[in-house]
Structure formats: C-alpha cells, structure tokens
C-alpha cells in the first residue's frame, strides 16, 4: 500500500469520492488534535497565572480576604491514600483469585461481567449508594472516609483489570517451577507471582489515582463540600471536605470565582498530564516485558 496516490485513470466520480472522504478523514483528525491542544492550552494559559504560593499553601480566610486551596489539596491526597490502601489488597486479591485460584469458568465469567458492570455505572449513582450505605447505614456521616470507601468500589474494576492483565504475562513455567520445588500456593503467589507483576499493579494504581483526582459527582454527597483545613490524616478522615475537583465546582458555580476555578483546573491538568505520562511509561515497560 505504498503508492497511495489516486490513479488518474479512475472515473471522475470515484476520484471525487476518494478525494472528498480523504479530506473528511484528515479534517476530523485535525479537529480532534486542535481540540486537545486548545483545551489544554486554554486551561493552562488562564489558570497558571492565577496560581500563587499563597493560593497553594493556605486556607481560605475571610479576615484577610484571601483564598487558598491547601485544604482541597490535602483532602485529595488523603482520599487517594485511604482509597488505595483499601482497594489494593481487595483488587489485587480479586485478580489473583480470577487468575490463580478460580476453577469454575462460570463463576469467573460472572465475576468478570460484574466487574465490567461496575466500570460502567455512572459516578452519580455511586454517590447516591455511597451516601445511603456508608454515610447513613454505617453512620460514617459525610466524611472523607465515606468518600474514600465509595471510590474504592468505583476504582475496583481498574485495579482488577490491570493486575489481571499483568498476571497473565507471568510465564506458566514460574508457577510450575515454584510448585515443583515444594512451595505452597500462597508462598508461590507471595514470592514469585506478585513481585513479577508489580508494574501492572502500579499502573493500575496510577490509573486509579487519575480517576480519583477527576471525580466529583460521587464525592459531592459522600465526602462533602468543606473548604476548611481538617488536620492530620486520621482526624481528617472523619471530617467532611472537598477534593480539588469538588472545590473547582464550588468556586465556579456557587461562588462565581472563575479565576480560582481556573487555577484549580490548571493544577488538576498538570496532575492529569503527569499521571498520563507515568502510566504510558509503565505501560510500555509492561509491553516490552511481554
């Protein structure tokens, strides 16, 4: 398919068809690229000038009439840590079960189907269920902990999927070798299987962090909209606070402070760029190993 020029001997109608569609394809591709570049460029150009040290390192003060997003940054961090701490054992465990333990193909199919289903449920529904189950039934109130637990269910599919992908790349001979030397199954998983799929697990974590950072609808009713500093990790877990995305929404829609909202958007954008880059990097390492 080297020579892609249109044969001049083709009838005019076919030549027209070819030209027009080729133009449409190029047009759409260029449009998409322009869209990405202008979206990101616009956010950074409008947001970065509004970022100052004071904004990043303080909390909102009515007395000084200053705005700071430090509480939101900390809340985001806390929720990421809490959610990952809980979801990692569960998600990796589920993937290990699917790949190493499960014998019944039917159960595996059901589990995989429900995992896919979880990935497709919109975040607002997670928000509602999280509110009813964690905040009300388990009486955790509107707190970072409720938010983190809600996010655990949400990012479970991501962790399961990436871990499973990388478990599949561990050669069968490793397992046979370990078991042949007399290792028990758990010992084999602990010392051979998990260490050799660590980059898959890390990729899953990075993708999960991306989702947590961008999430807003699920956190609105579970983690709340507080903009005050909550203190250390464990005290913060019990308090209600907004993550960066939720704070963006509050500043843009409820306070009408678009400058601050764009500054938060720029911070989010930088985080997303870093996360995407890291995931790409790890992903390509994973592929090379295969």
């Amino acid at each position: 398919m080297e020579d892609r020029r249109i044969d001049q001997r083709l009838p005019a109608r076919r030549r027209m068809y070819d030209r027009v569609l080729r133009f449409v394809i190029w047009g759409c591709a260029v449009l998409c690229i322009l869209l990405v570049v202008s979206l990101i460029g616009y956010i950074l150009i409008r947001g970065l000038p509004n970022i100052s040290w004071q904004l990043l390192s303080s909390q909102e003060s009515y007395l000084n009439k200053t705005i700071g997003i430090l509480p939101s940054i900390l809340n985001t961090l806390y929720i990421i840590i809490a959610a990952l701490l809980i979801v990692l054992p569960l998600g990796v465990g589920a993937a290990v079960y699917l790949n190493e333990y499960a014998k019944s193909g039917r159960l595996v199919r059901i589990i995989e189907f429900t995992t896919e289903t979880l990935a497709g449920i919109p975040s607002i529904i997670y928000g509602l269920v999280g509110m009813m189950f964690f905040c009300q039934l388990l009486s955790l109130k509107t707190s970072l902990l409720s938010g983190a637990l809600t996010l655990v269910i949400m990012i479970l599919p991501t962790i399961v999927r990436t871990t499973q992908e990388s478990l599949k790349t561990v050669p069968e001979s490793y397992r046979e070798g370990a078991l042949g030397l007399g290792a028990t199954k758990w010992y084999m998983i602990r010392t051979i299987i998990l260490p050799s799929c660590i980059d898959g697990i890390v990729t899953g974590c990075i993708l999960a962090i991306g989702r947590i950072v961008g999430e807003s609808a699920a956190l609105l009713f579970t983690a709340g909209m507080g903009l005050k500093l909550l203190g250390g990790f464990f005290t913060a877990m019990g308090g209600s606070g907004a993550t960066l995305s939720v704070a963006l929404y509050i500043y843009a829609m409820e306070r009408g402070k678009f400058d601050v909202a764009f500054a938060v958007a720029a911070v989010l954008m930088v985080i997303v760029l870093v996360i995407n880059f890291a995931a790409k990097q790890l992903g390509s390492r994973l592929k090379n190993k295969r």
């Binding site: 398919m1 892609r4 044969d7 083709l10 070819d18 080729r22 449409v24 394809i25 190029w26 759409c28 591709a29 449009l31 998409c32 690229i33 990405v36 979206l39 054992p89 569960l90 990796v92 465990g93 589920a94 290990v96 079960y97 699917l98 333990y101 159960l107 589990i111 896919e116 289903t117 979880l118 497709g120 919109p122 975040s123 607002i124 529904i125 997670y126 509602l128 269920v129 009813m132 189950f133 269910i153 479970l156 028990t184 199954k185 758990w186 950072v213 961008g214 807003s216 609808a217 609105l220 009713f221 995305s245 939720v246 963006l248 764009f262 958007a265 989010l268 997303v272 760029l273 995407n276």
Partner: protein, 305 residues
Amino acid sequence: MKAKQKSNESLQRLRRRIRAASELVMNIFFFLCGILAIGCVALISVYMILSGIPAIREIGLGEFLLGKVWASTASEPKFGILPFILTSIYGTVGATLIGVPIGLMTAVFLAKIAPRRLADKIRPAVDLLAGIPSVVYGLIGVSVLVPFIAAVFDLPKGTSLFAAILVLSVMILPSIISVSETALSAVPPEYEEASLALGATQIETIFKVSIPAAKSGIAAGVVLGIGRAIGEAMAVMMVAGNVANMPSLFGSVTFLTTAISKEMSYSSGLQRQALFSIALVLFLFIMLINVLLNILLKKNAKGGR
C-alpha cells in the same frame, strides 16, 4: 536430648499447621475478594431498587414516567420526569450524532491513513481527553462555550441543551476513538489486500471493507460513548441551565443526572424519594446499555478470530 528432639518435632508440627492454616486463610481471602465485585453490584442494585420503588408507588408509575411537570418544592408538588428522560435521550443522541462521525473518522485516520509515527504521537493526546476531569470540561463549557452560544444565537443565556450536547460530544470522543481504532486494526489484512487487488482505492477499501468488517467493535465504542454521555453529571450540570423544561435545543434543561445532583443536598420526604426513583430510571438505562455492550464485545471477540 530426647526432650529437645521432641520439642523440635512439635515445633515443626506447629509450623506445618500454621502453614496449612495460612494457606486456608489466604484461599478464603482471595475467594472473598473475587466475589466482592458481585457483592458490590448486588448491593448497588438492591439499594437502587429498594429506595427507588416507594416514590414510584406513591406517585404512580404512569404519572411519574410520563408526567410533564416537575415541581418538587411547590405547595402541591408534581413529580413528572418525562422532561428529564427526554432531555437525557436527546442530549445523548445529539452528542452521538456529532461525536461518532468525528471519532470514527479520527479512528480511521489513526488506524489506516496516518504514518505509524504520527499515529503514535496523536494517540496519547487523544487519551489525554479521557483523563480531563469532567468539572474541567464543565468549567470550559460555562466560561467559553456558553457565552459564545449566547452571542452567536443571540440568546439571553447560553446555558442550553445545545451547550450540553457539544460538551458531551467532546467527552465521548476518546472512548469512541480508542475502541473503534482497536476494532479497525484487528480487521484481517487479507480482506483489505483482496479489495486493493481488485482495483479499489484505499479510501474505497476503508469504507466498503474495513469499516463493515469492524462494525461490531465500532458499535461497542459507540455504546460505550452513549453510556458515558447518559451518566455524565457535573459537566452537564454546569452548562445545561438546570430548569425542568421539556427539552428544546436552545432552552435551559435538566438531565436525569442533574435532576438528582441539583436537589439532593436540600431534599427531604417524598421529594428525596422521587430523586432516588430518578436514579433507578437512570440505573435501568445504564444496565440496558451495559448488557448491550457486553453482547457487542462478545460478538466482536468471536468475529475477530
């Protein structure tokens, strides 16, 4: 001496027992993790149904689904969600109409037309679109798109169904592009070579051979995009205006998702229950889409081989 040997033996027996116990514990732990996903889906379904039914019972299914007026805080409240359902459907269809052709053409470009090195540069950029948080889309929508629409179409306010459709169509692009590209790349090269050998041009081959051959994969991408569009809340809430009107292209409208998130924080009583019923309707839509997606993906996996 003998006593030492005996204690050694018992120590070893103890160790073996611990190992067997930990083996069993881990076995159970992994099994529980495995069925956790089933538990979560069951939990969500049960909660959605249990909390959604009471209000529907009280209001009446017909009145709830087909009522054209939503006045939840009026002295004589009315709970008709037809405006929300229609808005969600129109919004999703509109976003699909704009997003699918652009996304599909871009996927064709990436899979068949662009030189590989160019495609490898563009693909991560498109993936980036998927990573942008929805509130950021909303922010750009409300600060750029909405004033633009107001100015161009000479409207008092730009917040409208049209703005929501435009934002949604950008948000569904990445899922459509990446799934369709995968499907297009999986078309066996023999098909295309045969078509080229018969004298078809490259473009003719793409549109008459490659795309038809990849159609179930492309359909899966479209369905995935539809699922994303119908479930999106925050971005839409920021640009759609959130008035419970029957949908019109340049009117302020409320989607199923935004109806829930807008009133949830201050609702109580029957109003709150009605919001859960809206969530149930949304949940049923999503489940339908999920099942459809699963069927398409299975068909695709079979066809690819």
